[in-house]
């Protein structure tokens, strides 16, 4: 009998689902090899069925997306109960992802901006969505919206992680293959290479041995050389700190790595580490000069924690 597999999404964009669809022809093989019991984007489902299942009867649950609402949290717990193996798919599930940047603010802040301050919104009465609302006698409910975005492993126990925003179809295929072959590594592993991106970077040979950055550049400020190491062009390429396995797609697109694959296994706080490496390359020992060179990085937190704010040491802004 084929192993039961579930795909679920929390606070995500569906890019991870697209990555599955990007398996293209080989998706049919996957469909043939497993018994998909849950896949909102492609197949009809209902929660009652999942609840009715025996605990641990699902071989593996692939969950993408961060945890933003009470409903997502409940789904996460439900699938943890039902699945022997839970695999966090994509940057959002692994690190909070770009939605995790909401940890700069909280629920009130988000509501204020979206439902009050938005220039196109007409809302004199200051209406905001309510978890329970009575509309001329009809009771309607919405899931609760948390103050803080969390990654999946901060809510439930996660067995494996597939990085990327989105992950490559290859990584997904490999994970499924490893699952079917019972060849998954030790618990907690990230199912991707454990070296930084520079190792496979097509431009690595153009990086000098002694890089010193005297001025940081923003991508729109210069015409980017399509051959040369992006850091040597003064661009904030986070490749040195970022796990490889993406196929250097952004570099191929002639843009710097923004770190969606997250850190290697040896690093706890991605942003702190990349900050250390970048700052060390500032080409001055004069305090004022150092400050002005570093001023060339306009948004350190948003840049270094672009995908990982919720799993950083500090996790969220203190308001």
């Amino acid at each position: 009998m084929k192993p039961k597999v579930a795909f679920y999404w929390c606070a995500s964009c569906g890019g991870c689902e697209e990555a599955v669809v990007d398996l293209a022809e080989s998706i049919l093989d996957v469909v043939a090899a497993v018994d998909i019991v849950l896949w909102p984007v492609a197949l009809d489902f209902k929660k009652a069925d999942v609840e009715a299942m025996e605990d641990g009867s699902i071989a593996a649950a692939f969950i993408n997306g961060a945890i933003r609402t009470t409903e997502q949290e409940e789904w996460a717990h439900l699938l943890r109960r039902k699945a022997q193996t839970v695999i966090a798919v994509g940057a959002c599930a692994q690190m909070g992802g770009i939605p995790g940047l909401a940890n700069f603010s909280n629920r009130a802040g988000v509501f204020q901006t979206v439902y009050q301050e938005s220039p196109s919104t007409v809302n004199a009465e200051g209406v905001v969505p309510e978890t329970t609302h009575r509309d001329n006698g009809h009771t309607l409910t919405l899931p609760g919206f948390f103050d803080t975005v969390q990654a999946l492993h901060q809510v439930i126990d996660v067995d494996y992680f597939i990085p990327g925003c989105p992950p490559t179809p290859q990584l997904l295929a490999d994970a499924v293959a490893a699952l079917l072959a019972g060849k998954l590594p030790e618990k907690g592993a990230v199912l991707a290479p454990d070296q930084a991106l520079c190792l496979d970077c097509p431009r690595k040979d153009t990086k000098p041995e002694r890089l010193a950055i005297s001025e940081f550049k923003r991508p729109h400020e210069i015409l980017i050389d399509q051959e040369k190491c992006l850091l040597t062009q003064g661009l904030l390429c986070l490749g040195p700190a970022t796990r490889s396995g993406c196929g250097s797609r952004c570099i191929e697109g002639n843009m710097p790595c923004t770190g969606c694959f997250g850190p290697t296994s040896r690093v706890r706080d991605y942003g702190g580490k990349v900050l250390s490496a970048i700052a060390s390359a500032a080409d001055s020992n004069d305090e004022d000069q150092i400050v002005s060179i570093l001023a060339g990085i306009p948004d350190p937190v948003g840049t270094f924690y672009r995908y990982s704010l919720p799993v950083s040491e500090l996790q969220r802004k203190r308001l």
């Binding site: 988000v110 309607l140 923003r218």
Partner: protein, 499 residues
Amino acid sequence: MPESTSTRRITIDPITRLEGHGKIDIFLDDAGQVERAYFQVPELRGFEKFAQGRPAEDMPQITSRICGVCPTAHHVASARALDNLYKVTPPPAGRKIRELVYSTFMAEDHALHFYFLGGPDFVVGPTAPPAERNVLGVIAKVGVEVGKKVISMRRRLRELTSLAAGKAGHPVFGLPGGVAKRLTAADQVRFQTVAAEAVEFAQFTLEVFDNIVLKNSDYVNLILADFFTHRTYYMGLVDDHNQVNFYDGSLRVVSPEGNETVKFAPEKYLDYIAERVEPWSYMKFCYLKSPGWKGFTDGAESGVYSVAPLARLNVADRMATPLAQQAYEKYIGTLGKPVHHTLANHWARVIELLYAAERMKELADDPEIIDPNVRTIPTAVPTEGVGVVEAPRGTLIHHYQTDERGLITKANLIVATQNNAARIAMSVEKAAKGVLSGKQVSEGLLNMVEMAFRAYDPCLGCATHSLPGSMPLSVRVRGRNGETLSILERDSDGAIRRA
């Protein structure tokens, strides 16, 4: 990865659970008549908030994460907003590469919807067992060869996007003043080859639609059915000749009678469009400032309007490419103009698929596309910028304000499905009333309701900047006092079950 950190969160007041990602609550009155049906979206992520403080040039990549189904739409809308922000015009090659990638994406996305999401309703049939009503069912119906063709077409289109934009899922090529990467002669050849195939593929798809839908009176009647019809305003981008354009142009609004009521530069959107908050949904509802919000109702007095393929073909006078124009004429000839039948979206979409493919070919054949000068370096001090494109699901507006360093101080995003939100809610209620009232609820009827909004290809990910894709459905039927009479859901085996 650090090991799971103990959560610092305490949830108080555990709240009533919801189901799925779209939700419809239907309330019946004593007579068992449908009194009110609600269409809710229970998701929100708040991009407008955490965009604040980010460097403007990062917005194309940040906002593409609003939706992984149409990342290119957000990416390009954002890049266009940055042009406007920095008052910079991309060099010809830069502009053309953007539109080339964009057309490629539109073709891919429309194909995805027709065959994977919406198409099954027609190709396989609205009353067919749901287990078959998916892409596999489509393949079964049209043949494995065709199925393979569909899949590989999509694959190659996405490969092209990756080639020019870095990644198909969340591209990286868009910058103020142009694109990051130039195209080589070799790249051009690849685009030309695939573009030619895409045109054939689009024509073929049109045939499929022709044979399976138009030649089937049941389907035609369904399209024309009153409960799938709304007489609302329509909005979309048109070029100088009032032809459909996905990438550039002015926004044109036509009345339910089909007359142009206004045509304005995207930067002016705030003068014409407003959003409304309902306490029972995280999605905001758009309407036209004039005539204004009159509730969930259609007609010339109501500000409710619609976007997406149906609307685009309603606001345009013609299509910009020859083959698409032929198809357009047949469409108008058959349904008249404006077309108010929601389900006609599917037909309009296939016509747009053809247009996208043709446009793609035009641009791929343009010798200028491989010009190395693909970007203009901005010099102006940034203040405010608006960018608009036609996403597969309709008009998409990005609006940024920044400080002098180009850090976002305010971001406003109006997304395709939001423009349609009110009409979708109406469609759902009307369909519910139309098909359910006083009847024994059946799976077939249930799917009719579902079709009412699937036709819009609603992207709730976009709509609430949260969750995308097709809508899993559960319908809850409640009595006068709100007690649940029945919940109807479909099993994966297709059988209807009452909870």
